[in-house]
């Protein structure tokens, strides 16, 4: 057993400890001890360790997602306030997802659910089918392109 089985987790926990308390030597030592013990506890659970192949693409993904969330917030606010239920068509759609890495899939589900207008409903891991619900399903192909080209490709580059 290595001293630090999850260095990134330990570092994040230490950073979180210090932001919640204060940036001082005392809290650095206390936080480091707690973070190390917590990462041992994590190691005891033996989760699959995600591999970040191109971690430098993560800020790009974050930027894209934050921008898309702003855009879809505006779109959904428009739908709710104008109440145009006649012309709008919401519906279910299925997408074939090629991602296999569980961490990448988890990230994709966070992206899709935190974007107003899209909701991740069901995922079948054996054939990679994803069932989602879209509030404004004007062009199904557009949504497929959004998920496949905008998010999935980048996630694949980062994780696989």
């Amino acid at each position: 057993m290595t001293v630090l089985p999850y260095p990134l987790l330990t570092a994040s926990l230490l950073l979180m400890w210090m932001t919640l308390n204060s940036f001082s030597i005392g809290h650095f030592i206390l936080g480091a001890i707690i973070a190390t013990v917590a990462s041992w506890a994590m190691a005891a659970l033996r989760p699959a360790k995600p591999r970040l192949r191109k971690w430098y693409l993560l800020p790009k993904l974050l930027g894209i997602v934050l921008y898309d969330i702003v855009r879809s917030n505006i779109a959904v606010v428009g739908i709710i306030l104008t109440g145009r239920t006649r012309t709008r068509r919401s519906g279910f759609m299925t997408i074939h997802i090629e991602l296999k890495d569980t961490t990448a899939l988890a990230l994709l589900s966070v992206i899709l659910t935190s974007t107003p207008g899209t909701a991740w409903l069901e995922y079948n891991s054996s054939d990679g089918t994803l069932l989602m619900h879209v509030l404004d399903l004007v062009e199904e192909q557009e949504w497929t392109d959004l998920v496949k080209n905008r998010y999935e490709r980048l996630l694949m580059e980062i994780f696989e």
Partner: protein, 127 residues
Amino acid sequence: MNEAFNLPFWAEIVVSAFVLLGASLALIGTIGLARLPTFFERLHAPTLGTSWGTGAMVMASMIFFTVTSGRPVFHEILIGIFVTVTTPVTLMLLAQSTLHRERAEGNPDVPASISKTPAADSDPKEA
């Protein structure tokens, strides 16, 4: 509340703008929750509050306390991170239980199960 008086004018404007934005998004989300006709459409409305509704409030709080205390305060960002990361859990639970119920009732508007487990084969539509 003496801290509030030390706030410069520009910060007052920025903080109130973010608070108003966050509050409006949460309000519009709840209006949507009340007004949208079907369950799956209503599922989208509260995400306004959990995405930029929370985001704007967190920004306002970070700016306010950074300006008034004179040192960078950013631990609020953890609220944003944890709200975002945990939203899918509740949303999927709600969605999947509703999908299950609608399928069991044989509602034709709901798509058939995409998983090939034996339980899914007992879909009343196919019977």
